[in-house]
Amino acid sequence: MAPPALDSLPAPLRSLRLKTKQQELLLRVSALALIYVLAFAVRLFSVLRYESMIHEFDPYFNYRTTLFLTENGFSEFWNWFDSESWYPLGRVVGGTLFPGLMVTAALLHRLLRALSLAVHIREVCVLTAPFFAANTTLVAYAFGREIWDSGAGLVAAALIAIVPGYISRSVAGSYDNEGVAIFALLLTFYLFVRAVNTGSLAWALASAFGYFYMVSAWGGYVFIINLIPLYVLVLLVTGRYSQRLYVAYNCMYVLGMLLAMQIRFVGFQHVQSGEHMAAMGVFFLLQVFFFLDWVQYLLNDARLFKSFLRITLTCVITVGALALGIGTASGYISPWTGRFYSLLDPTYAKDHIPIIASVSEHQPTAWSSFMFDFHILLFLFPAGLYFCFKRLSDATIFIVMYGLTSMYFAGVMVRLILVAAPAVCLISAIAASATIKNLTTLIRTKSRSPQTTSGKTTGSKAAAKGAVDQSLPFQHNAAIALLLGAFYLLSRYAIHCTWVTSEAYSSPSIVLAARGHNGGRVIFDDYREAYYWLRQNTPPDAKIMSWWDYGYQITAMGNRTVIVDNNTWNNTHIATVGRAMSSYEDEAYEIMQSLDVNYVLVVFGGVTGYSSDDINKFLWMVRIGGGVFPVIKEPDYLVNGEYRIDKGAAPKMLNCLMYKLCYYRFGELTTEYGKPPGYDRVRGVEIGNKDIKLEYLEEAFTTSNWIVRIYKVKPPKNRS
C-alpha cells in the first residue's frame, strides 16, 4: 500500500516504516481519539459563552443531591428524607430517584481528588454529560464494528459525536440522567448483541451489569427490558433461535433483574409491574422452546413430537394466561402506568394526565424537529435499513428493531428523539460507510489495472464487483461525482450540527441572553437574582409557593423549602397550588395559610418579552387544579374559548391571584415607546386590570427586569 518511492530510502529508515496493518491501526486509533475529543469539545459552547454552570430545571436537583452525596456520604444519601421540598409532605429522596448519575459524578470527583486534582464538584457535574457523550462514541464504534465493520463503526462514532438529537441533552451543564443513560443504553445493547453473536457468558454478564447501570441511571431502562425480549421473540419467530441467544438472554435477564432490584426506586417492579411482564414472558417462552428442542431431539419422531407440542403449548399458554390474569386481578401485578400508556397512545396524556401533557418536551414531535435533530441522517436512515436487510444477521436485526421502535417513540414524544439518536446514527453510518466504500472501490479498481481488483475483496463488495465487471460507461466519473456529493452532504451535516449546538442547545435557560439595540449582548440574570435574594434575605425556614417548574431551582439555588417541585409525584398537591393561583386572593390566602406559605414566586415576562412565563402557563394550572378541584372551571377564565388578558378578559381571569401577582403595579410602567403604560410585550396587549390592590400579600422583591416577582404573605390579622 505504501508508495514505491519509499523503497529507495536507506535501511534504518525503512525499518521504521509501518506495516499496512499497523498503519490502519494507527489511523483508526487516531481517528477515534479525534472523535473522542470532538464529542467532548463540541459540547463546551455553553461553558465558553456563559460559564461553568448547571442548566435547566432537573439538573439543579441532580446537582443538589450530588452535593449532598459528596458532603454526607452514600449511606446518608440513600436514607435522605428531604423536608425542603413538597412541604408539608417531604420527599424520601433516597428512595425516589435514580442514583446512577449522582454516584457516577461523586465517584469521578473522588477519583480526581485522589489524583490530587482540586476540582469542585460543580465542575465535575457540569462536565459529566460531555464526558459520557465522548465515551458513547467509543461504544458506538464498537457497536458499529460488531454489526457491520470497523469502517461503519468509525462513521457511527463520528456521527454520534455531533448528532444534535443527542447533544441537546448532553451539553456541558446539562447534568441530567439522560447524559449517562444514553451511554449505558448503548453499552447494554452492544454487550447484549456481542453476547448473542458470541454466545459467551462473560459478555452476557457484562451486559447484565450494563443494564444494572442503566437501571440505576434512568427510567428509560423500561425500553431495554421491552426491546430485548421483543428482539428475542422476533429471532424465535424468524427461526434464528440458537444456543447463543439462549445463553445471552437468560444470563442477561436473570442477573439484570436481580441487580436492578437493588435500586430502591425500582424495587420489585421487575416481577410485579405490567411493563416488565413481557421480559418475563419471553424468559419462560425461551425455557419452553429449549425444552421442546430437547424433547424433539429425544423423541426423534415428527408425529409424536407434534402432538406433544400441541399439549405443551396449550398447557403453557393456559398457565401463563392464568398467572397473568390472577396476578392482575389480585393487584400483585400492577397495571401499566399512565406514562407508559401515553407512549403507546399519544393522545392518552392529553385526556387523562394534564400534568404530563403540560410539559413541552412531552409533546408529539414536529417534522421540523426531526430535520433539526437528525439532518441528513433522516435520509441515510432508510438507506441504512436497506443495507441491513441486504445483509441480515442477528446483529443487524437488532439494530433494525432498535431503530424502528425508537423512531416510533421519537415521534410520540420530543424528548425521546434522544433514544432514537444512537440507532439512527448507527444505521446511517452503515449506509454512509457502505456507500463510500463501494464508491472508493470503484474508483480504485478503475484507476489501476483490472487484474489487481480480484486480489482485493472485502465482505460487502459483491455488488461493486459486479458493477466493475460490467464496466458501465462514465462509471468512474459518476463514482467520483457521487463521492463528492457524499462528502458535501457529510460536511453539511457537520456544519449543521455545529450551528445547532451553538445556537439552539447551548443556552443554559437560567440566564437569558438577547441582542441589545446596539448589537451588544444583553444578559437577563433575573432568575439567579431572585433565587439569591431568597437565599440571603428570607428566614431559613421560609416556605415558597411557586408553580412546580421552579421548585428544583428554588431549593437548589435559593436553599428554601418549596411546596411543589419538578418531581411531580403528588398530583393533588400540585393541583392545590394550581387552585391557589387561579382563585381570588382571599380564597387563595386560606389555601396558602393552610400550607404555611411565606412567599409566593411568579415568573412574568411582560416587561422583557420573555414568553415562557406563568401567564402563558396559567391555563395548565387551571386545568391541573380543575382536575382535582371541580370548583376551578376552565371556561371561567376564557372568553368564547379564547385566552385573553386585556380589557375583554373574563372577570375571574382579571382578579385571580396569578393575574394580580404578575401585573401588580404593572399598569404604571411604560414598557415600550409609543405604547400605553401596562403594555404586555409577550401577549402584545394592554392589560385589562391596571388597578390591582393586594390585601393579603405584599411585594417583597422584583428582579431588575421584572422576570421574577416575589410576594410576602402577610400574617393573619388580629381579631378585632
Binding site: V511, D525, Y532, Q536, F701, T702, W706
Partner: protein, 474 residues
C-alpha cells in the same frame, strides 16, 4: 430622652459628670505632670465610619520629671468599636515642620472598674522635658458607632442615625481649653444636645470653647441626623493569596456583605426604585468599588450559584478599579455573599531579600472602599516546599500556620493565617511574609506529570507486547 433632660440642666458645672471615680489622679503615675493646653476634636460623621481628628497641645509642668508618653482615654464602648488609633507629633519649627509617626500601645493602667476609661499611651520619640510643650495629632476611627433611629425604615424614607459622644474631651489630664466640631453629611440634622456654648453652621455643629476641664470629665451629647451613605459592612472576609513561582499570584477573596444601616421594612417596589431613584431607597446601594493593584489579570466575580455578570474593570498603570454590582440592590439588613478572584504578576510582589530568603509584599486590608470588615482572615499559601514562614505585620494580629492542598500537592502547602477584627481602610498597609524556598521544588509537579504520561505509554507498550490469553492462539 437624654438630650431633653440635658437641655433642661442649665449650668455646665452641674453637668460635669465625672465618670469612673475609681480613677482618681492617684492612679496616674506620679511623674506625670502633663496637662493639655488646648485640644481640638473634629468628628467626621459623613460616612458610616466615625473619624475623629484630635489636635492636642500638651505641656509638661516645670516641676515634674521628663515624660516619655502621653495618655489618651476612651470609654469602654469606644474601645469595643475602636478600629485604629494613629498619632503623629509635630517636630521642627514653621516651614521645617514635619510630622513624625508615634507608636501607640494599650496601657495596662486603670482598667480596674468595668466602666472606667481605657487608656492608650502614645510613646514619644523624644521625652518631653519639664516645661516643654508639643503638639500631637491623633486620628482614631470608630466602627458601628452610628445607631440607626428609627431602626426600621421603608423604601421611601431616608436613614437617620444617632451618634453619642462627649462634648468635652475625655482625658486623664487637666484640659485648659477645648473645642469640638461635628461634621455631618447634610443639613438635615434632626436634633443635637446643647451644651452651651453650642453653635450650628450648616452641616457642622460646634461645641465649645470650654475651659479648665477636670481630668476624666464627660458631657454626654447625642446627635440625630441624616446619613444616607452606604453602610456596607463586610461581616467576614477571607483573603487567600496563593503564590506560584511559575509567575503568578492568585488572590481569592470571599465576602459576606451586609447593609448595616436601618433595616428595610415592608414593601420593596421595583417600580419605585426604577422610576424615582433619588427618593426611593436613598440609603440603599447597588454598587461597590474595589481598588486592585495595577496589572491585575483574570478577574472574576461570582457567588455560590454562579457568575455575576454586572461588573466593570478599569485599569491604568497606577491602579485597577473593579466596579461590582451585587445581584440585587442592598437595603438595610439585606445580606449578600460573593467571591472576587484575580491574578497578579509574581515579580511585582515577591522579592528576594538580602539574606537569600524570599518575601511577599502585599496590602493587608480589604480592597473595598469605605467599608468596615468585622472579621478579616488573610491566608498566604506559600508554594509547596517552602520553609520557615515569618509574617511581618505592622499591627497586632492573630497568627497561626496550617497546611492546604491544591492541584497535584503531595506534602501540602504551608499556609500563614493572619486574623484581625474590626478592619477599616486605614489598615490597607503593606505587610510581608518571609519564607525560604528552593526553586528545585518548582519542577516537582511537571516532573510528576511527565512521568505519569511516560508510565502510561510504557504500560501501553508492555500491554501490546504481552500475550495474556490462557489458550495460545495458533
Amino acid at each position: 430622652m437624654l438630650p431633653l433632660s440635658l437641655r433642661t440642666l442649665a449650668t455646665r458645672t452641674l453637668l460635669l459628670l465625672v465618670i469612673a471615680s475609681a480613677v482618681s489622679c492617684s492612679s496616674l503615675p506620679p511623674e506625670d505632670g502633663i496637662r493639655v493646653v488646648s485640644a481640638e476634636k473634629r468628628i467626621d460623621l459623613t460616612g458610616p465610619i466615625v473619624k475623629v481628628f484630635l489636635t492636642l497641645k500638651v505641656e509638661n509642668t516645670p516641676t515634674a520629671s521628663e515624660a516619655s508618653r502621653v495618655l489618651l482615654a476612651f470609654t469602654p464602648t469606644e474601645v469595643q468599636h475602636l478600629s485604629i488609633v494613629k498619632a503623629t507629633r509635630a517636630e521642627g519649627k514653621r516651614k521645617k515642620k514635619a510630622f513624625v509617626p508615634l507608636s501607640i500601645e494599650a496601657s495596662e493602667l486603670a482598667t480596674t472598674a468595668p466602666d472606667a476609661p481605657r487608656l492608650y499611651s502614645v510613646l514619644l520619640s523624644t521625652p518631653l522635658k519639664p516645661g516643654d510643650a508639643t503638639t500631637l495629632e491623633v486620628l482614631y476611627m470608630l466602627t458601628h458607632s452610628l445607631e440607626p433611629f428609627p431602626a426600621e425604615i421603608s423604601q421611601s424614607e431616608s436613614q437617620l442615625v444617632y451618634y453619642r459622644d462627649s462634648a468635652v474631651l475625655l482625658s486623664p489630664y487637666y484640659v485648659l481649653e477645648q473645642v469640638t466640631y461635628i461634621k455631618m453629611p447634610s443639613n438635615r440634622i434632626e436634633s443635637f444636645t446643647r451644651v452651651d456654648p453650642t453653635t450650628r453652621a450648616g452641616s457642622e455643629v460646634k461645641y465649645g470653647t470650654y475651659n479648665n476641664q477636670m481630668p476624666n470629665s464627660y458631657l454626654p451629647i447625642l446627635v440625630h441626623y441624616e446619613n444616607n451613605r452606604p453602610f456596607a459592612v463586610v461581616e467576614e472576609l477571607v483573603r487567600k493569596v496563593e503564590i506560584s513561582h511559575w509567575g503568578n499570584i492568585q488572590i481569592t477573596e470571599q465576602y459576606k456583605l451586609k447593609h448595616g444601616g436601618a433595616r428595610h421594612k415592608g414593601v420593596f417596589s421595583r417600580l419605585e426604585y426604577q422610576s424615582r431613584p433619588s427618593v426611593s431607597g436613598a440609603s440603599s446601594f447597588k454598587n461597590l468599588l474595589v481598588r486592585l493593584p495595577p496589572r491585575v489579570h483574570s478577574v472574576y466575580y461570582r457567588d455560590e450559584i454562579g457568575n455575576i455578570s454586572s461588573s466593570h474593570l478599569r485599569t491604568d498603570s497606577h491602579k485597577s478599579e473593579l466596579e461590582i454590582e451585587p445581584r440585587y440592590p442592598l437595603f438595610g439588613g439585606w445580606h449578600c455573599t460573593f467571591t472576587i478572584g484575580y491574578g497578579l504578576p509574581l515579580q511585582d510582589f515577591v522579592f528576594e531579600s538580602v539574606d537569600g530568603r524570599r518575601y511577599i509584599n502585599l496590602t493587608f486590608g480589604c480592597p473595598l472602599l469605605d467599608t468596615v470588615v468585622d472579621d478579616l482572615t488573610v491566608k498566604v499559601v506559600l508554594p509547596e516546599g517552602s520553609k520557615n514562614p515569618q509574617p511581618v505585620v505592622p499591627f497586632v494580629t492573630e497568627k497561626h500556620l496550617e497546611t492546604s492542598y491544591s492541584y497535584l500537592d503531595v506534602v501540602g502547602r504551608t499556609t500563614v493565617v493572619l486574623k484581625k477584627k474590626n478592619v477599616v481602610g486605614e489598615h490597607n498597609v503593606p505587610f510581608q511574609v518571609y519564607y525560604e524556598f528552593n526553586p528545585i521544588f518548582m519542577l516537582a509537579e511537571p516532573l510528576m506529570l511527565i512521568s505519569a504520561v511516560l508510565l502510561f505509554f510504557v504500560a501501553f507498550i508492555a500491554y501490546l507486547h504481552m500475550d495474556l490469553s490462557i489458550r495460545k492462539s495458533s
